[in-house]
């Protein structure tokens, strides 16, 4: 980008921008619907039930239909991947048959759980017998497998470059992927709509950056406005 280009950028100051933000109208009811859609799609049944009571928003599907989905999901969240695999197959065996990536990630999670509980030998055996053959079929799988096995190489895994795998969010990630697959098999929207809001925001900000300097949001969790450059 040349100097001339940046100096010709339109600048919108903080005060002006904050006024624009407060001029945006969104009904709380619509926001609540998005939250309900999120809770239902992600399978947080308890929260969805409570939310129905507290906000008066009706869930878009019968909450009882998500119980099975939730059981499977909870199994992954609490580290019982074998349990989850069994239950998914009871629910619909096609889900895993038609989703090699999901199946791999579940097996990977199983390996992570073995490593977490210190069963080194069992972990190695499992990696070699169950995961390595799949890695040979797919380069991406192989990389992920190698990264996971690397956990065994560090004495202090928490401070290792692969510590993220042991994080609770890794279980969440696997659980979400499984959840989405079950939703698709039940012909429900597999993704909640709220992430689209974030995608739209990130996309639009990137586009606008080219021509305008304005208070941007980089920290999505806290939604903090940065000063325009």
């Amino acid at each position: 980008m040349g100097k001339g280009e940046s100096s010709s950028k339109k600048v919108i100051g903080r005060e002006d921008w904050e006024k624009r933000l407060s001029d945006v109208k969104i009904r709380k009811e619509d926001m609540n619907k998005l939250v309900m859609n999120y809770l239902v799609t992600e399978g947080y049944v308890d929260a969805a039930e409570k939310f129905q009571l507290e906000s008066g928003v009706k869930p878009e599907i019968d909450l009882s239909t998500i119980t099975d989905r939730m059981t499977v999901r909870k199994a992954v969240q609490s580290g019982n991947v074998e349990d989850a695999l069994e239950k998914v197959n009871d629910l619909n065996p096609e889900i895993l048959d038609t989703n090699p990536q999901l199946f791999f990630h579940l097996q990977q999670q199983r390996l992570i759980e073995l490593i977490r509980s210190g069963k080194v030998e069992e972990a190695l055996e499992f990696a070699q017998e169950e995961l390595a053959p799949r890695g040979e079929e797919n380069h991406q799988f192989l990389e992920e497998l190698e990264r996971t096995v690397a956990l065994l190489a560090f004495e202090d895994t928490a401070n290792s470059p692969v510590s993220d795998l042991l994080d609770i969010s890794q279980r969440q990630k696997t659980a979400s992927e499984l959840n989405a697959a079950i939703l698709t098999s039940q012909s429900h929207e597999k993704d909640p709509r709220l992430p689209s809001l974030l995608k739209m925001l990130v996309w639009a900000q990137n586009q606008l950056d080219e021509k305008v300097s304005y208070p941007r949001i980089n920290d999505l969790v806290n939604a903090t406005l940065e000063d325009p450059v």
């Binding site: 339109k10 919108i12 921008w17 624009r20 933000l21 407060s22 945006v24 969104i26 709380k28 619509d30 926001m31 619907k33 998005l34 939250v35 859609n37 999120y38 809770l39 992600e42 947080y44 308890d46 929260a47 039930e49 409570k50 939310f51 009571l53 507290e54 906000s55 969240q77 609770i168 969010s169 969440q172 990630k173 979400s176 909640p192 709509r193 709220l194 992430p195 689209s196 809001l197 974030l198 995608k199 739209m200 925001l201 990130v202 996309w203 639009a204 900000q205 990137n206 586009q207 606008l208 080219e210 021509k211 305008v212 304005y214 949001i217 999505l220 969790v221 806290n222 939604a223 406005l225």
Partner: protein
């Protein structure tokens, strides 16, 4: 304000004497001798294609091919010579009927599409999203003729032999080509691009939802969600502060204003000195509740001592007049001010109290999730009004979030 689209051929002093227009300047007829290429004449539209329009489309019907049908259809920039057929000059783009060739800044053509003649309808599309010009013939797309086009252009037609006669449709009549489906297809492409935008991992959304629930005091929901998210669920102080806010807000929503004021003051002694306007709103609400209860004398006395005496925050006079006005009606529920007695007003006051309580803890007035929505809407609006042609194709509420607009 949307910029105006081209709507007719430009008939001014510069119009070639070899051309004549008719039917509200939509038809063009060739009146020259047509002896050689030097006798060619072109006309452009009254306005250029606005840069803000993602996809511009118009059609030309050939009423008569005249002697030889040397007809050119396309786009050209502002200062292009009008005594030449479209495409022969630089910054000029044309599709010619006699040979089906496309011309771009050169008098030698490139093989492009079929020839066209009397009765055919030719469409010209300037796609400013993907920077190309394409044509259609009798409702069928002929594909991209000119890629990499990125300049301000006018629709243009050029004629060259006697009897040639064409008529343009700039959108006042239905097009032969299904341009709407074409635009929808483009829109799907843009949506797919947006959906593939990487965002930080899914944990962000969960945390946003949790802070949203906490902000609005959906205590049970927040606790249930937090149990799934964090070890040990919601932490002590966060839960306590939310429950306290919830309690105070519920009192307001039940109309128990005195208790709300007293307990707020006890729990956070700083609150009303920091936010006198909130105390004032609560007092106005107290007045409304007294009207509801029906003791006019006590209500009046309260109004005099609490609302009209002493220092008042800005905007107070109007607020007082509004609520005191209720006393003018024998049946306030059936009065024009009955909206003051609705539950929504209690909720608004309760939200005001909630925001003040949050502000006292150094927290923002909107939950981060709502701020992200406002930011997305504001950025999108600015984008659509300045540079983002793609942004114009997409609506945040209906396309991205499944929110149906309120009917006006």
């Amino acid at each position: 304000m949307a910029e105006k689209l081209p709507s007719a051929w430009s008939v001014d002093a510069n119009l070639s004497s070899k051309l004549e227009t008719a039917t509200c300047d939509l038809q063009v007829i060739y009146r020259g001798s047509g002896k050689s290429d030097a006798e060619a004449a072109a006309v452009k539209a009254n306005r250029p294609v606005p840069t803000s329009v993602p996809i511009f489309y118009y059609e030309v019907r050939v009423i008569s091919k005249g002697r030889d049908g040397y007809i050119g259809i396309g786009f050209c920039a502002d200062r292009v010579l009008m005594s030449r057929l479209p495409g022969w000059e630089l910054h000029s783009y044309g599709y010619h009927g006699d040979d089906g060739c496309s011309f771009r800044g050169c008098s030698r053509g490139t093989i492009y599409g079929p020839t066209f003649s009397t009765g055919d309808v030719i469409g010209a599309c300037y796609n400013q999203l993907e920077h190309y010009i394409m044509y259609t013939k009798n409702g069928v797309s002929l594909g991209i003729a000119f890629p990499g086009v990125n300049e301000l252009l006018y629709p243009t037609v050029g004629l060259r032999t006697p009897g040639e006669k064409v008529e343009a449709n700039f959108g006042t009549k239905p097009f032969v080509f299904d341009i709407d489906s074409f635009v929808q297809e483009q829109k799907r492409t843009v949506l797919a691009t947006i959906q593939s935008t990487p965002i930080p991992d899914c944990d962000v959304v969960r945390r946003l939802v949790l802070s949203y629930l906490t902000h609005h005091c959906y205590c049970g929901t927040a606790a249930a969600l937090a149990r799934d998210l964090e070890k040990g669920g919601l932490q002590g102080d966060r839960l306590d502060s939310m429950l306290r806010r919830k309690q105070l807000c519920s009192l307001v929503e039940e109309g128990r204003i005195d208790e709300a004021i007293r307990l707020s003051q006890e729990a956070t002694p700083m609150l009303f000195s920091a936010f006198p306007e909130v105390l004032f709103s609560l007092k106005c609400q107290k007045f409304v509740e007294m009207v509801r209860a029906g003791n006019d004398e006590a209500t009046m006395a309260y109004g005099r001592s609490e609302l009209c005496g002493g220092e008042q925050p800005g905007g107070a006079t109007e607020a007082v007049q509004e609520v005191v006005g209720l006393l003018a009606y024998p049946d306030p529920q059936a009065s024009p001010l009955s909206y003051l007695l609705e539950q929504g007003r209690r909720k608004a006051v309760s939200e005001e109290l909630n925001v003040a309580l949050k502000a006292l803890q150094g927290e923002p007035s909107r939950p981060p999730l709502t701020t992200l929505y406002c930011q997305a809407a504001a950025v999108h609006k600015e984008l659509a009004s300045t540079v983002g042609r793609a942004a114009r194709l997409v609506d945040l509420d209906s396309d991205m979030l499944g929110i149906r607009g309120e009917s006006a």
